[in-house]
Amino acid sequence: MDTANVNVKLSEFAKVFFDGKPYDVPAELTIMTAMEYAGYRLVRGCGCRHGFCGACATIYRIEGKSPVHFALACQQKVEDGMYVATLPFFPLDRRTYDMEEITPDNQTMMQIFPEIFGCVACNSCTKSCSKGLNTMQYIAYAKRNDLKKCAETSFDCVSCGICSARCPANISHSLVGLLARRLSAKYLTPKSAHTHMRTKDIADGKFDDEINKIMRMPMDDIKKLYDTREIEK
């Protein structure tokens, strides 16, 4: 009986190490909320708090074990014996370009991000991706100028920068994916004809009468119209 109780107690807290110092924190917290619980006032390394923005790149190792793990601090639950280091900033190597000037041909990637051809296929990027993406594969697609595949494979990237911190070839992976997605969407995907047509019709004033009519309608008539409108299935 007694032992069981003790076990329950112990499993409610975890001992974690932030910057090498130990803290006892409730075991249900994420790395981010545990750091706050421990007394950290976050400024860098904290953005959306829900796994979208990549501000909270984090590296950890479990005490006594060799593998290094990579995660988003806002998404990863704490574990007993976790040694945590945060990576709130990584200097990505940015390039600028004019989307109207560049084309999706095979010169573009080569000119803007030549370092991708220095990839040594170590797979460190894929192994360290906080979103579990096949990063090395999307860089390979970029090298082959298969922009559509690169776009799809990199789509979930939140630009946390861990892959770039690990890369021996100094590639800024997330920026490569971003260029591929923009090129693919702009030049390799057919344009939406109905969107363009509607834009033109509005500019030509074809909806002016209708919109002005509803704006001038007495509120009671608008209410009636709303309550009886047909809803597309």
């Binding site: 706050e36 400024v43 860098r44 953005g47 501000a55 971003l178 909806f207």
Partner: protein, 535 residues
């Protein structure tokens, strides 16, 4: 993973699925909706609200957390600044680096202005990056701007400002076209036409999406474009107060480096405030979907220079915030999950509300179910109702989940819950401030010259309840518009002598109203230090 008791309750959801699949719950009529809102929506609670004692909205109601900030002291009270050699001197200063700020920057730069962005956290650490569901625009053949207008007006309880709403719906298709041209990866059919989804309160399938990462995809493209245009981005730098000139025009801002505390002066011919929402103020104690910096700063800055608030007492609680597991508490489960077929189900297996009523109605129904009716499921953080995601699989196959809501699928798989097989637990979460600063259709405030506002910080476009997908649209439409208008106004502006007299005057007004405290605002960041704050 679920507790064994929760797994037991799930059996009831499974047992009633076939029947619910065949019989959709009915929609409420106008009177039933009003009654439900009145009794259960947090906006109608007596507690949690206070009265504004100073400024243009004196005597009006607002959430107590906002009242406290409006009644607090300026962070720079009593400090003297040297305005003769400002660090930045530009045509257009944009405060806030989300979707509205980025859209404004692109257009201001294209209009030839010397423009810069100052933003509190990293560029893109913003609500815009988090939008999941999509963006509206009436570009389908069976749809029209006037239909979009009607849906938004009804959804907003007929309180939308007509001129602003007109701009939103008329400029909508062009906004999508513009984004497409910038290289945003919209969900498309093979011929390039847009895939559009239904949504709460929409009478047409009008929601455009980029899987369930719509905001991430749009925002990262906008930011990349801002960088390609060489617009300076000063990140980790928050605005503490707007600066005026001796002619009463807004003429810059006092900024602060968030990492060092250093003050920085930015002088500008025109200013666009695009600071977003207020979720991190946790009105009524609700958790939030919002990013870390959503603390209503822009409302405070603009109010202190004499702008007005509009609908500051109406908040959007998103019906499907995560109630379990704890690590995701308050996080968003996009409405698209209901657009593609999931129902809300109580402990007895009843679908107690039509899943595509407007958000305020659905949230109220969930609050009633978990409260008065006691038909919720108890969780470590409170209670919740089921969102029956396996129903989507029954209707359209598992691939529908994998293709349309891959982010949500992964988010729960991370905690051992496969939403293709198991339903998930939901409770409303603070999602969006429906109200904000009152603007004219030109994007500027009526009271103060050269002050432009865009995005979630604005009130009036959406009335008293915003429809899904109308905010990302407003961010792009009004962001772009503010950028153009501010660049234009800058051309004819000469700045007088810079002053912070309005701050002193506001302090005097507080004193006259008998308000005396040691609080300061804007808040900049919530304080979760040494607290058991969940998400």
């Amino acid at each position: 993973m679920y507790s064994s008791q929760m797994l037991d309750f799930i059996k009831t959801v499974e047992a009633t699925r076939e029947d619910r699949f065949k019989n959709e719950p009915r929609r409420l009529d106008a009177n039933e909706k009003q009654a439900l809102l009145k009794e259960f929506h947090p906006d109608h609670r007596d507690s949690g609200f206070g009265t504004i004692e100073v400024g243009n909205n004196k005597g009006e109601k607002a959430p107590v957390e906002l009242v406290e900030l409006l009644h607090a002291n300026s962070r720079i009270k009593g400090i003297k600044f040297d305005f003769d050699s400002p660090k930045y001197d530009v045509d257009v200063l944009i405060i806030g680096g989300g979707g509205a700020g980025a859209s404004a920057a692109i257009e201001a730069k294209k209009a030839g202005a010397n423009v810069m962005i100052a933003t509190k956290l990293r560029m893109g650490d913003a609500n815009s990056t988090m939008a999941e569901g999509g963006i509206q625009a009436a570009d389908n053949e069976n749809d029209s701007p006037q239909q979009h207008y009607l849906d938004s007006m009804g959804g907003g309880h007929y309180a939308n400002k007509p001129e602003l709403l007109k701009r939103l719906v008329m400029d909508g298709p062009d906004a999508i076209h513009w984004l497409e041209n910038l290289g945003v990866m919209f969900d498309k059919k093979t011929d390039g036409s847009m895939v559009t989804f239904p949504g709460g309160g929409l009478s047409r399938n009008r929601l455009h999406a980029c899987a369930d990462y719509t905001g991430l995809e749009i925002t990262r493209v906008l930011i990349n474009e801002v960088r390609n245009l060489d617009v300076p981005i000063v990140d980790f730098t928050a605005a503490l107060e707007l600066i005026m000139d001796d002619k009463g025009k807004v003429a810059g801002a006092v900024l602060m480096n968030m990492l060092t505390g250093e003050y920085v002066i930015a002088k500008a011919k025109t200013v666009i405030v695009a600071t977003g929402g207020a979720g991190r103020l946790h009105y009524h104690g609700f958790p939030t979907t919002n990013h870390y910096g959503a603390t209503a700063d822009g409302l405070i800055l603009a109010y202190r220079v004499g702008a007005s608030l509009l609908y500051q007492d109406t908040i959007q609680y998103h019906p499907t915030g995560v109630a379990y597991p704890t690590q995701l508490f308050g996080a968003l489960v996009t409405e698209k999950v209901r657009s593609i077929g999931a129902q809300l189900v109580n402990i007895e297996g009843e679908a107690f509300v039509h899943p595509l009523e407007t958000r305020d109605v659905v949230s109220s129904a969930i609050i009633r179910e978990c409260g008065q009716r006691k038909k919720g499921i108890t969780t470590p953080d409170g209670a919740g109702v089921w969102l029956d995601t396996p129903l989507i699989v029954k209707k359209s196959g598992a691939s529908m989940i994998e293709k349309s809501i891959p982010g949500i699928l992964k988010m729960f798989l991370n905690y051992g819950i496969d939403i293709r097989k198991l339903p998930i637990l939901m409770y409303p979460t603070f999602h969006y401030q429906n109200g904000g600063i009152d603007i004219e259709k030109g994007g500027h405030t009526k009271e103060v010259q050269n002050l432009f506002m865009a995005g979630e910080v604005v009130g009036g476009i959406h009335g008293r309840n915003r429809l899904l997908g109308n905010s990302m649209l407003d961010v792009v439409v009004f962001g772009r518009h503010a950028g153009k208008a501010a660049a234009e106004a800058a051309k004819t502006t000469t700045i007088g002598k810079l002053t912070l007299n309005h701050v002193d005057e506001y302090t005097r007004k507080l004193k006259d109203a008998g308000i005396d405290n040691d609080k300061t605002s804007p808040l900049l960041l919530p304080n979760y230090v040494r607290k058991l704050h969940k998400a």
